[in-house]
Amino acid sequence: MRWRYITILIIFLFAFATIIGKLFYWQVVQADMLSQLGKSQYGQVVNLQPKRGDIETSDGFPLATTALSYLVFANPKEITNVDAVATQLAPLLSIDSATISAKLQTNSYWVSLKDFVPSQTKDEVEKLNIPGVGFQEDYSRLYPEASMAAQLLGFVGKDANGDDKGYFGLEGYYDRQLMGRAGQAVQIHDALGRPILSQLSGVQQTQDGRTLVLHVDRAVQYLVENILKENVDKFEATSGMVGIMDPKTGAIIAMASYPSFSESDYWDYDQSLYKNPFITDLYEPGSTMKPLVMAGAINDGLVTPYTQCPICSGPVQVGDYAIHTWDDHYFPNTTMMDVLKHSDNTGMVYVSEKMGLDRMLSNFSKFGVSDTTNIDLQGEVASTIRDRQTWYPVDVATSAFGQGIAVTPMELLDGFAAIANNGTRMEPHVVDHVITSDGQTLTIPPKVVDQPITPTTAKIVTEMLVYTVNKGEAAFARLPGYRIAGKTGTASIPVSGHYDPTKTIASFIGFAPADNPKFAMLVIMNDPKASPWGSETAAPVFFEIAKNLLAYYGVPPTPGE
């Protein structure tokens, strides 16, 4: 009898041990997996995509914003009359019917027909009520002003994981701020998949991207782009660019280049157009560099506006090289005022000799030449100034009139703007302030970088530049009644160790009104065929834009000018 009790006891103990073991396995070993399995049966993890931040001009108008778009897809297994469906969809989706037909004939359950389809098009497709055609909501970048400021904005593409990523310009530079932070939540469903009262249990809160409010003035940007395009075509230039900044704050008011691209279908354009040439193209600035060198020499007390040039009666020999003026006209004993007026290379050689290499290099450095400006745009480059030991006397001489030294247009404009701002160089900035997703405003204050020259020197050089505009080569294009300081530039293009004999980079740099500048502007025309000279191509463009800007800012003409 006893053995029966023992047997039953052992069976019971074994059964309990098995149950305990199984419970341990479920509750401890497989706890996480089973917990996830349970959650997946009654709840669904929903990824909450953040809305990418807008990029707005100074008037609050979005140059780039987020719009609702759709991915149109189809289930080929459900579509019986492929040709008829392809013919119906082709005009609405702007794809040829053969492409749609080919997709619909594949042996799969899901094919993408087109993404980034606007809601109006989606509505039209929906009205056709085609079985097997569906839509998936998505966000896409919208550019209400079309391709305005494309190279300033950059574009939004995809990264290796297929997520949105900003490339170039502001989209690239401020990508982390614009993208926001994705959220996740669990949606509880009933047996039929309907959401029940517990609603969403938040796991991670979504944070929308921040909005960038720019210094860029939409009206000015629009005006500049139109005038630039018109004149690039008119002067048969290969390309052109314009940058306008407030010299007092470093605020970028407008920045345009032509040809450009469209951000919404960037893939249809040559990749070389993605870069913003105003911050990425290094070029020898030519005579537009002369005011910076002259300012340095005056600041150091080496010359005055009335110092006469004793070596300007003919070509100047420096080492093995003879340096000529641009038109081979020479002005014996010309003053420094007239050196700028005539854009006299020999006069600048005289200035460079007075300065010497060390002062020259120091002056370039103070004006920010061959250094990035730290503008808040992705892709800025700068050339490096060669080691002091590698400079020959002829290099010092030619750099005084902007040859043999490379800058970006942004570097030159920023350095030149210091003359307009009483000698103080500001850091250029495109973004004025940032608005966070909870409405907080983060202002970016103006930043002083350097003081290359004194306010007195700045005033003297300003007067010299006003004189240059009024009496120099571009005097025919000037605006009567306004005091505008400026300088033309016609730079040769270095090609394989020599200068291209036919091509030039024509430019004009200046600021207005000279006594209380509202803007500093640089206009560049690359290889204009109609005329190689800056005075005949870039200068008229500068003055046409300046005329409109002065009216826009309500600046009256100065009586007697």
Binding site: T65, A67, P144, R194, P195, Y222, P556, P557
Partner: protein, 94 residues
């Protein structure tokens, strides 16, 4: 003994009332998921419509669109500018 009975009856009564109330509330809430789903769909739809309208406003008020429309309607940019300068006084003491 009588008080204990009464107390027990009250407790049972409360239990019954609360149970019935729970059934009634659960019954009322059991279909609210449908209403909630509908409301969520409506919110999403209104948000989408709002976004579409916002997009249309921006597109229609863009300079690019206005200039294009103006051009189609025959407007041309004004080339002339009139500036009212400050007039000089009648007599200046030199």
């Amino acid at each position: 003994m009588k008080r204990a009975k009464l107390f027990l009856t009250v407790l049972v009564g409360i239990t019954l009332v609360l149970s019935l109330a729970q059934i009634a509330v659960s019954n009322a809430f059991s279909t609210s998921g449908i209403a909630l789903g509908a409301m969520q769909n409506q919110i999403a739809q209104l948000q989408n419509e709002n976004m579409v309208l916002r997009t249309q406003v921006f597109t229609l008020s863009s300079y690019t669109h206005i200039a294009s429309s103006a051009s189609e309607m025959g407007f041309v940019p004004s080339k002339s500018q009139i500036v009212l300068g400050t007039s000089k006084p009648l007599a200046i003491r030199q």
